[in-house]
């Protein structure tokens, strides 16, 4: 009954396949969970939801790990999963809530309140429209190139570069218009 009983060497190879998959998965988690969390954080503007979404993302990644062929593409593969998870969450949310709640990220972060400038900058980044904020995060935090961001967001590269330019331009203007911080920056 070849169909129903595996011989010993088959069992061993199945076990080692499982172990290999687990090892691969853990490597993926340890290499990318920080970038993914930070991306989710800036995308979602809530620490706890960001963490949930990252958890969901990795769980989904585990289930479809076999579809990841190119290890070099792992990060953008994960980002794509995360974007999809977040979109799904948003669809659910529209049924759950009638109004969009304000980002509450700022009140929860105690560690950045100590640093006035960083806190201020944090607020400014959060004020950026999502279409500018998202490519900026992908570039600064995840280290993607313009081409890669264009691929991830399904935009052309020129649009991405323009949005990156506008994002920094807005931050620079905000910084220039803030006398307190200018003083501290110059002093």
């Amino acid at each position: 009954m070849k169909l129903f009983s595996r011989n010993k060497s088959d069992k061993v190879s199945v076990l080692s396949d499982m172990r290999e998959k687990q090892r691969q998965y853990e490597a993926l988690v340890s290499a990318y969970h920080k970038d993914l969390y930070r991306y989710a954080y800036w995308l979602i503007q809530d620490q706890h939801i960001a963490e949930d979404v990252v958890q969901e993302t990795f769980l989904r990644a585990w289930k479809s790990l076999d579809s990841l062929v190119d290890a070099k593409a792992a990060k953008s593969w994960l980002i794509t999963i995360l974007r999809r998870e977040n979109a799904r969450r948003f669809e659910r949310k529209q049924f759950d809530m009638s109004e969009y709640d304000e980002p509450n990220i700022l009140d929860k972060s105690t560690d950045i309140e100590d640093d006035t400038e960083q806190y201020w900058l944090n607020r400014q980044i959060n004020k950026l429209p999502l279409e500018y904020r998202e490519p900026l995060v992908l570039q600064v935090v995840a280290g993607f190139s313009g081409d890669e961001i264009a691929g991830l967001l399904d935009l052309n590269k020129n649009t991405v570069m323009t949005r990156l330019f506008r994002a920094r331009n807005m931050l620079k203007e905000a910084l220039d218009n803030n006398p307190t911080l200018e003083r501290s920056a110059n002093g």
Binding site: E51, F165, L175
Partner: protein, 237 residues
């Protein structure tokens, strides 16, 4: 490269400046200052954006995955268990339904005879001398009546034979007591064959309005018993 183009490129990606930008910055002090300024801003931006990641996030992600895997394995096992349990239950069900169609009782006469045996002790000492009017009152429920006396009636009680509610009459025969079961016409698939064992015999008579079963001593003339009753049995309209 004009100033606006220069600024756009630096703004778009301050950390990866191409050679053209670098040369332009080298050649122009104000452009150089702008690049420095932007790279300074970029460092601040990086620090601000690299928010703290919860310490144990990685281990929690792995924990979640192993729990999920465990759960789905359990579920797989459960499915298997459930499937097995269902098949076992199914097999048992078939077994029971076959058992309940006890071959002993596929014959209605057999069933009635068993009833008589079971009640033998009870009927042995029971003599209610039931008047004809009472028997007729009970027979009315079956749409039947006796036009004349059928002799001494020891008892006339309703009894339940499986799903059938029968009127059980005990009368005198030539060889001993005769048990008569008057039942509503049933369309249940049953064997109505005449049966007999070493003590008694059973015979069914399928009449117009009712089915009647006679359980009598083995030596009793069933034909006689039958006509004794059936000649006096009439149908209420």
């Amino acid at each position: 490269m004009d100033d606006l183009e220069f600024r756009r490129k630096v703004f778009a990606d301050p950390k990866h400046l191409d050679d053209e930008i670098k040369q332009a910055a080298q050649a122009d002090a104000s452009k150089k200052r702008f690049v420095d300024e932007m790279q300074n801003l970029e460092s601040k931006l990086e620090r601000a954006m690299k928010v703290d990641v919860p310490d144990d996030l990685a281990s929690r992600i792995i924990l979640r995955q192993s729990l999920d895997q465990h759960k789905s394995e359990q579920k797989r096992k459960m499915t298997w268990y459930m499937a097995t349990a269902a098949s076992v239950a199914f097999a048992i069900g078939i077994g029971f339904s076959q058992m309940s169609q006890d071959p002993e009782f596929t014959n209605i006469n057999q069933l009635a005879m068993q009833h008589v045996y079971d009640d033998a002790m009870y009927h042995a000492s029971l003599d209610l001398d039931v008047p004809l009017t009472e028997v007729n009152a009970k027979l009315a429920g079956y749409g039947a009546e006796l036009t004349d006396s059928i002799g001494h009636i020891y008892s006339a009680n309703y009894c339940q034979m499986q799903a059938i509610r029968a009127l059980h009459l005990v009368i005198d025969g030539k060889q001993g007591q005769v048990n008569i079961f008057v039942m509503p016409k049933t369309d249940v698939e049953l064997d109505w064959q005449h049966i007999a064992d070493e003590k008694m015999q059973g015979k069914a008579s399928r009449l117009q309005g009712v089915d009647v079963i006679y359980i009598a001593p083995k030596q009793e003339d069933m034909q006689q018993v039958q006509s004794h009753l059936e000649n006096k049995l009439k149908w209420r309209i």
